[in-house]
Each structure stands twice: as structure tokens, then as C-alpha cells.
């Protein structure tokens, strides 16, 4: 589904990703672990083509097609979704309006307003989001936890092929992490994939993690199975440091 080859990305003058390669197949759940500043968020943003991040070398393929020349919204329409670490506040646009517009853009179908409304409320109930929030402005005045649940609401509404989750669990209390985690579990099936950045093993509890990678200084220094997550939480990243 996703294939990244020797990716080099710079932001401003700084090279952040330095030859990163990653392969994610349908049905897989990958976890990316790494200390702050190792390039995790840059990777997520680069996959979606954030204009601030310049790909200087390497390629990103999605379902066999090279994404490099595509704009962000074209990548999203192909089925890539990013749950933001810090979701933007957008005054004047309601959650429902935004989600309906997105769904229409991604599917290309005309959305039936009433039916959409019903489905949205059902999903909100599952994620324990107050139904009034459908009419509130996007993330404006939301708590950190509410913003993250709103991201999962978007994930479930848009139902992409590849979900990138950038620290969706950070800043959440135990119960909220549980809600987010079961939201991701609901989304996941054998046809789609997840790439999850986390510092916290708890979000992975309900998820059948297939791969884990350690990202240090812009490169993946070690890949393995779910067991890597445990190793990192016990012993930290120092063991993986590579001396140049």
C-alpha cells in the first residue's frame, strides 16, 4: 500500500529525514517510536505533502503510484488520512459542515444531508462526543482530548485506506486513550493500514500491531514486531543509538 524509498526531507535549512525507507502492506499496523526531534512528525507531514517540508531525494509510492508530484488534497482523496498532533482551530466552520465537505471531496459523491447527520451522530455517540459539538466550530474551544476524539471522528467518517496517527494519544487521560484506541480498532480491517506514532503503549492495547520501527536522527535504525514497543518502554532509546 505505502512504500517509501530512501526519503530525504528538509524543513528550511535543516535536513530532518535522511534516507528513510518503509513498507506498509494492507492489513498491517505499524508503530513508529522515537525520541522528540527524530523526524516522526516530519515523516507524517511529508507523506501528505506539507509545503513546509521539501523532499530532496527518494520517493513515496501509494498503491504503486508515485505521490511526489501530487498536492495534499489529491493524496487525501486517494485514501491517506492524518490524525494531527495539534489539530487546527477553524472558526466559523462547524464540525458537521467540515466533515460533510471532506466526505464529499474524498468520495466524489453527493452526500445526503439527513442521512449523513444521522451517521455522524451515531459515531459521535460511540466516541462519547457531546452531539452539540456537531454544530460547534472546528476545534474552537475544544480541550486537548476533545480535539483528538474529533480527529478519530474524522477518521471513521472518511474511512481512508491508510491512517497516519501522530501522537493521537498524547495529553489524554486513561479513559480518553481507551476511547481513541477502540475508535482506531473499529476502523482497522484487513484491507486498510495504520501507521501510529506514540510514546505510550496503552493506545496499542486493542490493536493487532504487526510492525514496530525505531526512528533516530532521521533514519529507521531498527525494525521488528510488536515486542519492540515493550523494549523501548523498559529501556528507552539509548540502546539503539548508532555511533556514526
Amino acid at each position: 500500500m505505502l512504500e517509501i524509498e530512501n526519503l530525504h526531507v528538509r524543513a528550511g535549512d535543516k535536513e530532518i529525514l535522511r534516507g528513510l525507507s518503509l513498507k506498509v502492506a494492507a492489513g498491517e499496523i505499524h508503530v513508529i517510536l522515537g525520541p522528540n526531534g527524530s523526524g516522526k512528525s516530519t515523516l507524517m507531514n511529508a507523506i501528505l505533502g506539507h509545503p513546509k517540508y521539501e523532499v530532496t531525494d527518494g520517493k513515496i509510492f501509494f498503491e504503486g503510484d508515485d505521490l511526489t508530484a501530487l498536492k495534499t488534497f489529491e493524496r487525501a482523496r486517494r485514501g491517506i488520512f492524518l490524525s494531527f498532533q495539534n489539530p487546527e482551530e477553524i472558526p466559523g466552520i462547524t464540525v458537521e459542515n467540515m466533515l460533510r465537505t471532506s466526505k464529499q471531496a474524498v468520495t466524489g459523491d453527493k452526500i445526503k444531508i439527513l442521512q449523513f447527520h444521522k451517521e455522524l451522530l451515531a459515531l459521535m455517540k460511540e466516541l462519547q462526543i457531546n452531539p452539540e459539538y456537531a454544530g460547534r466550530y472546528m476545534n474552537v474551544g475544544f480541550s486537548g482530548g476533545e480535539k483528538k476524539r474529533n480527529e478519530i471522528l474524522q477518521l471513521l467518517t472518511l474511512n481512508p485506506k491508510l491512517a497516519l496517527l501522530d501522537e493521537t494519544d498524547s495529553g489524554l487521560d486513561v479513559d480518553a486513550v481507551e476511547i481513541v484506541s477502540s475508535g482506531v480498532a473499529k476502523f482497522h480491517n484487513e484491507k486498510n493500514s495504520c501507521v501510529i506514532i506514540t510514546h505510550n503503549a496503552q493506545i496499542l492495547k486493542h490493536l493487532p500491531v504487526t510492525h514496530a520501527h525505531i526512528l533516530l536522527n532521521g533514519r529507521i535504525v531498527k525494525s521488528g514486531g510488536a515486542e519492540l514497543v515493550g523494549e523501548v518502554s523498559e529501556r528507552g532509546y539509548a540502546q539503539f543509538e548508532v555511533t556514526p
Binding site: K71, T72, E88, I90, G92, I93, T101, A105, V106, Q154
Partner: protein, 464 residues
Amino acid sequence: MKNYIADIERALYDVRDADKSIYKSDAGLTEEIIRDISKRKNDPPWMLDFRLKSLETYRTIDLPTWGPDITALNMDEIVTYVKPNAAQVNDWSQVPDEIKNTFDRLGIPAAEKKSLAGVGAQYDSEVVYHSVQKRLTDLGVVYTDMETALIEHEDIVREYFMTLVPPKDHKFAALHGAVWSGGSFVYVPEGVDVKIPLQSYFRLNAAGAGQFEHTLIIVEPNAKLHFIEGCSAPRYNVTNLHAGCVELFVKDGARLRYSTIENWSRNMMNLNTKRALVERDGLVEWVSGSFGSHVSMLYPCSVLHGDGARCEFTGVTFAGKGQNLDTGAIVVHAAPNTSANINTRTISKSGGAATYRSAVKVTKNAPHAKCSVNCESLMLDDESRSDTLPVMDIEGDEADIGHEAKIGRISEEAVFYLMARGISEDEARAMIVRGFVEPIAKELPLEYAVEMNNLISLELEGQL
């Protein structure tokens, strides 16, 4: 009342001073022309006198020297602006394509297009208008054009006409007093709640396409009215001066909501004067959209004259290429416990200039006044300009005054966020702009809100 008027004048025209206008004579505008206008309109003698006095006043006042540059207005040729019917286009083919295209894209029906461009009467709305008339008459409400009001309700017109905006107020008020023509008159008797909004849109006609129209609305104690002026499609006029006047009288416990969309064609100087006098526990609500014109100077004023009088002002201004829109609001707190809320959004793009200008005055007679001002500006590119010029003059005791101003740009992170949800870049930007004006749009009557959103999309298309 004179004192309060003097107050307003000071607040607004403080800056007017020594600079002697080069347009001293205005030779073109003669007593003869005024007499001719008056005769044609069958004015009663006092109105002719009023016009002639206004003409004298007009000759003694200079052009304002503050605000946008309006020297492009050739006052020596003023006569061509005011000669009845000289202004009208008679032929649809003479209407500029740019205007026609906008009509098409807003989905305005053919008959209305011609009406808006001043080349025909608005046939479709006639029927609606007449059925509305019947219901109003049953309630004792008078809703008619100013000329008819002057014949059928002469006493009322005489009592109120240009008492709130006196001709000596400024040059264009004086000009208006001399040459006014057309406009709407509404009288709502005590205690009557007019449940349907009255729309001047129904009343547009070729003769009064609105250059010097006068609107006079009187809402008697405990009565209620929503009046909607204008329309969001561009109104085209070959001449380039609009100097209308709106006077609103809101009596004890009465409520008046006055909604406007001003969207003059891009050749216009829009120098409109609007003022409301609000008595005890009365409420005036202004909802004001300014989109068109080359230059606008528009600052609806609320004089809170009775104890507990209130004002709500909600405004949006969108200045594009070649436009200089100077808009805002004035509030005069002239009685105890009066309160006002001003909430505006301005947008500028492609080199347009949008200025928010306001004056809040709290007189000595107005203890415990409350006023909150919130103005936000969005600049869509580096060549556009946005300014915020709030003036506060507080003399009353224990005033509670708040002011919040923000000038900013579209957040690129927000654009990325929307694009990451599959929304195209142009649409993402348009959504953010629409979101920015949403607090205003939701105050507009639905069809106007929809049209305003269409307008914004049209304005943004291909620009970003």
C-alpha cells in the same frame, strides 16, 4: 435633541478643518435645477424651501479631508449627477459584462437583473409586494415610497425628515437635502409587531434606482420591525455618486432591525449617511454588508437617547482590487444605562483597502454606559491593506468599555489541515474566509447569507 446631534457631528467631523476646498463654487448646481426637481416631484412648498436651504448649506461646506480620497468626484459636474433620469441606462446592452456575469453566476432571474441594473421595473416582485401591502395595511403599518408618503402622510414626514441627519451635517447630507429622490417610508404604530421582514428590494424601480434615496422609518413605542435594504447582487448606475440618507426613529421599548447589503458597481463613490435615534429601552440592530463600490464611507450611527437604550451593530466589509472601503460604526451614549455591541469583520484582497473606523462617545449624561467593540480584519495577500481606527471619547461615569481588534492572514496550517481532508486548496481558503465572516453571515436573512457566500466564492475564484 439638537445637543445630541451636535455631539454626533463632533465625533464624526472633528477632523474637518481649514483646508479650503478647490470646489468652491459648484456652479453647475443651481436654484433653477432644484426648483425643477421639486416641481417634477410635486413637493409641498415647505419641501421646496428645505431643498433650497440645503443648497445654500451645500455651497458653504467643503469636501471632507479625512478618510479615503474622493477627489475623483468632479463636483463641478455635480449637475450631471443630480439631473433626474440623466443617470439611467436605457438599454440592457449598455450594462457592463462584468455586472451581467455576476448576475448570471448568482442566479438572479432575468427581470430582476434588469431592475438591478436600472433598465427595467421589477415585475416579478410586484405581486409579492402587493400581497405584503394588504397585510400591512390591516395592521395600520404604512410602507410606501417617500414621494407618496410626502403626499399621504405629510405631517409625519415634516416632523421627522432630516432632523436626525440635518443638511449642515456634511457636504453630502446637504446635497442630499437639496436633491433627494425616492426611497422608502415605514411607519409602525405603537405596539404593532410586523412579523415579516420588509424588503426595499421589492420596491426597486427604474426611476429610483437609488442615487439620493431617502429612507425614513418610525417605529412607535413597543412596536417591532425588521427592514431589509438592498440586495447582494451589484446595483449598477452609470453615474458614480451615491449619497443616500437613512433616518431611523426607535421609540420607547421599540425594536428595529435594519439589514443592508451594499453592493454598488465598482465605479461608485458610496457616501451614505445612516443614523438611528433610540429612546428608552429601545433597541436598534444594524446588520451591514459592504461589498461593492470604488470608494465607500459608511458609518451607521446610533444615538442612544433614552435610559436603557441599546444598539447591536454587526458588519462585514470586503474590499477587492481597486476598492477603498472605509466603514464602521458610531455610537453616542447620551442617556444612563445605555449599551452597545459592535462586531465587525473586514477582508481585503488583491490590493484592496479596508478600514474599520468607529467612534464611541459617552456623554456626561450617560453614567453606567456599556460598550463592547470587536473588530477583526483578514488580509488575503501582501498587496492589500487593512486598518483599524477606533476612537473612544468617554465623559460619563462608570462606563464599561471593551475593545478588541485583530488583523491577520489566512493560516497556512489551517489550509493544510483542510487539504489533508481532501478539500482543494481554493476551496479550503474560501471556507476559511467564509468561516471568518460566519458570525456576521448568520445574522443575515437566509437568502442573503447564501448570496453572500456565493459572492465570497466569486471574489476568491482564481485569485488565490
